[in-house]
């Protein structure tokens, strides 16, 4: 536990050691606010739907940007060798990195708080959907981050990690979209709907916290973190 915390702190600090973190947070807030207000006044309804509708797409860029350097940079600098020869277990490093990326994402998402504040000032929104929406955003973000971390562990190159993560998350996101489901065979459609990264977020952001959705996100996170641990361990396979 102490080790996870140490890695977590080191990783979280390292986000802010470079300007990239600030740039991404600011860009994220700018984009989300712009996209939110663009439709918010048009529709004229006091809810957060405009924000939560676009979050899965914004995360597509934000999450890979957060995770791209997590392992790729360690490999490129060679610090992986320092990290992996400290008295620390592989899974502790993976978890430390994961939690710090989650906290970073939560920070970015939390900084959109002026949006719900505006909604409260202008109208009378349903608090349940807002809480659900933010909770769902964190879970969905966690899934994106777990995928991004795993992909970062496969390469030395941050840009490769970034782009492959975007593509992977994109693929997992669109398979649950109606547009894709229309052209999938009937047999596969329910599976695709279930696997889609965005489908479960939609239902949570309606304010319905269903255990199936929670289980889905936790299993996606668990699965990719497990793959991540395996890739880190693979150097030790005989």
């Amino acid at each position: 536990m102490r080790n996870i915390l140490a890695i977590f702190q080191k990783e979280f600090k390292s986000y802010f050691n470079s300007p990239i973190a600030y740039i991404f947070i600011i860009t994220f807030i700018l984009f989300s606010s712009w996209l939110f207000f663009r439709t918010f006044f048009l529709i004229g309804q006091a809810h957060m739907r405009p924000l939560f509708g676009i979050l899965p797409w914004l995360f597509l860029i934000l999450a890979p940007a957060i995770t791209m350097r997590a392992w790729a940079e360690e490999k490129k600098l060679g610090t992986m060798e320092i990290l992996m020869t400290l008295p620390i277990k592989d899974y502790e490093v993976v978890l430390g990195k994961f939690f710090s990326s989650v906290l970073f994402m939560i920070t970015a998402v939390f900084l959109t708080f002026p949006l719900p504040l505006t909604v409260y000032v202008l109208g009378n929104p349903d608090t349940g959907t807002i809480i659900g929406g933010y909770l769902g955003a964190c879970l969905m973000g966690g899934a994106y981050l777990a995928i991004g971390l795993f992909i970062s562990s496969l390469t030395k190159n941050q840009i490769v990690a970034f782009i492959v993560s975007i593509v992977t998350c994109f693929a997992l996101l669109v398979i649950g979209e109606d547009f894709v489901l229309m052209s999938t065979p009937n047999m596969l459609a329910p599976i695709f709907t279930y696997l889609g990264l965005g489908t479960h977020f939609e239902s949570i952001s309606r304010g319905v916290i269903d255990s199936r959705d929670l289980i889905y996100y936790f299993s996606v996170i668990g699965f990719f973190l497990f793959l991540n641990i395996l890739t880190i361990e693979s150097r030790k396979w005989k």
Binding site: N17, E81, M84, T85, P87
Partner: protein
Amino acid sequence: MITASNLSKYFGPTVALKNVTFEVKKSEVLGFLGPNGAGKTTTMRILACYHPADSGTATIAGFDVFDDPLEVRKRIGYLPENNPLYMDMGIVDYLEFISKVRAIPPSKRKDRIRHVVELCGLQKELGKDIGELSKGFRQRVGLAQALIHDPDILILDEPTIGLDPTQIIEIRELIKKIGKEKTIILSSHILPEVSATCDRIIIIHQGEIVGSGTPEEMASKSKGGEIIYITIRGPLQEIQSKLGSMEKIKEFKKIGEKENGLNQFEIKSDVGVDLSEELFLLVVQNGWSLTELHQEKANLENIFLQLTTKEA
């Protein structure tokens, strides 16, 4: 303290290590010598539990590197090849991170950090990020990192590579100082380095140990014998005939002549034969004068070349 037996490691079809067996005793400084790509780093990585050997076993302080990696890692300080560091971290942040993971209790962390900072001479650079440091100081940060938990065993992979001569001497002094109480394995492809710092040397070539011993033992194994360079003022022919009549001289040749009748000779003799005194007396007895006499000592280069260029 450290034992390795029959370590082998393959990277695909390439053999990186072949049946490497050695032992390091407590508070001994062992130098791993070999040309680039000989298997030094591979051996060190196995000992530091970074990757396992394909066959063979190694133990450190009684713990097996494959079965008990965490116990082993707790007891070693490791400076990997090329000294990787987090360039955007501050020195103190970095050392704090390492001491946390090294389970140094919070109350002692400050003292330990101060201690290694002083030991490695980093006081003046403390405010900087690692990326801003010169190579020599980065190396010191790497050493500080390896020393912070006061390990009994240090594994240093090419600790002086890429440094300038002053820095090399400083790092060597540091290693000597630390080496008094700790067991150290260090690798290098620079000969004077290992002979200056190590109690014992292992020469490794193409994944195999081709020679080992103390620097002196290694030198005496040299097939080349001893070489003395001498410059004498005197009549050339007389000198040559007298030198020719000395039994212990295996071979001598004139290698140069300067004005004022100065003659330079290279004199070869068998291993362990020290001719310098006899040569001096010879010069005195004949009323010549001696302007230069020096002996080529510890011919490690020769051994190294002999051992590592066999197949070439």
